[in-house]
């Protein structure tokens, strides 16, 4: 049986090698606290486009209309709110950062700010792009399915790898030491943080 478990472990690892690296990179990015789109130091790209919302539309409907007009890449539905000047702001978050459209109603225009994140924050966002992603284009859809596969593969790899390690190399001192140390360490953090 262990021969098959080993095959499953190897195949799952090879099929998810890149995503394991993305997961590792995401951990490094948050540990290093890489600056996000608002603290990256670069100014957003700003442009204006003509836009007129129907007089009877709700803020949410206007947000949807803005999304339909701008079609920000890889972004999901608009998060709408009113800013300090009571203007409607529609935020479109994506794996690449933020597109914020401010509706200047009296001018019949949208002020569009595009804040593109760093490659590091992109990798962090990519690791969190799950099947809950609301963007409708093909790339986030396919990537989120790949992430889903990798989540279950990660569990499978951890379980099969641990099984193989404990059953085939139990007599090796480091096998016992590392598994016991990992178990105790995690249990201690669990108790402290719960």
């Amino acid at each position: 049986m262990n021969a098959w478990i080993k095959k499953i472990h190897i195949y799952a690892g090879l099929l998810n090698f890149t995503i394991l690296c993305v997961f590792g990179a995401a951990g490094l990015v948050v540990t290093a606290e890489a600056p996000d789109i608002f603290h990256g130091g670069s100014e957003p790209d700003v442009s204006t486009v003509p836009f007129q919302a129907p007089g009877s539309a709700s803020d949410k409907e206007v947000g949807n209309l803005i999304g339909a007009q701008l079609q920000p890449k890889h972004a999901g539905k608009a998060n709408v709110r009113r800013n300090g000047q009571h203007q409607l702001e529609a935020d479109f978050y994506s794996v690449n950062g933020l597109v914020r459209a401010t509706y200047l109603e009296s001018e019949g225009q949208l002020k569009v700010e595009t804040r593109r994140n760093s490659i590091w924050r992109f990798l962090d966002n990519a690791h969190a792009t799950t099947i809950q992603e609301t963007a409708s284009d093909w790339a986030p859809w396919a990537w989120s399915r790949y992430i889903e596969l990798s989540i279950w593969s990660l569990m499978l790899m951890a379980l099969t790898g641990t099984w193989l390690g404990l059953t085939t190399r139990w007599n090796y001192w480091w096998t016992k030491a590392s598994f016991i140390a990992g178990t105790i360490g995690f249990a201690v953090f669990w108790m402290v943080e719960k």
Binding site: L20, V30, I131, W143, I151, F179, G185, E193
Partner: protein, 186 residues
């Protein structure tokens, strides 16, 4: 060389088994929106009157067994409110300076909640030593992901009978993920 690589893979994998499972299970919880239903309990205790936030938090930790990381305080008429945040929940503490009366509202998120919060804890500049130790562990686990992947690929490559199907799987992984990452970044 092979033996060294194999031992590194084994040791890292076993050391991080529970941590990797925590990340994977909590990721599944988030991806599938498995609901976390908090259990809320409320109680009143009395502390020394006239305390600032940090001394009050210390007193409550020592005398009432509260734990957690101190959050931002909000001023209230006659006192203030602040949260103590743990992986498993949060205690909202409302304090009256004049009387020393403390209202505790504790929200306990259970196992799913702890897994979810542990997934998000990170960084090396937190208030508590335990949280910073966890941050170092996250750093170690992140580096170990590369090491486990690299040593795994090396060991697979040395297994000649698995090369055929392995090349197909690894190539599929590289081609698909790189195309998708480039498409996402465009």
């Amino acid at each position: 060389m092979y033996r060294l690589i194999r031992n590194i893979h084994l040791i890292l994998g076993l050391l991080l088994f529970w941590m990797v499972m925590m990340y994977a299970v909590s990721a599944a919880q988030m991806a599938h929106q498995i609901k976390i239903v908090p259990v809320i309990t409320e109680s009143d205790v009395t502390a020394t009157p006239g305390l600032d936030v940090r001394p009050l938090a210390m007193e409550l930790m020592e005398k009432n067994g509260l734990t957690g990381e101190l959050g931002n305080a909000t001023s209230l008429p006659g006192g203030y409110r602040f949260p103590l945040t743990r992986a498993g929940g949060v205690t909202q503490i409302t304090y009256d300076r004049a009387t020393g009366k403390v209202h505790l509202k504790t929200s306990d998120n259970g196992v799913w909640g702890i897994l979810n919060r542990l997934h998000h804890f990170h960084g090396l500049h937190n208030q508590s030593g335990a949280r910073n130790a966890w941050g170092w562990l996250v750093l170690f686990a992140s580096l170990a992901m590369f090491a486990l992947g690299g040593t795994g690929v090396y060991m697979w490559f040395k297994l000649h009978k698995e090369r055929g199907i392995g090349v197909v799987l690894l190539s599929a992984n590289l081609v698909v993920s790189i195309i998708l990452l480039i498409a996402l970044r465009m």
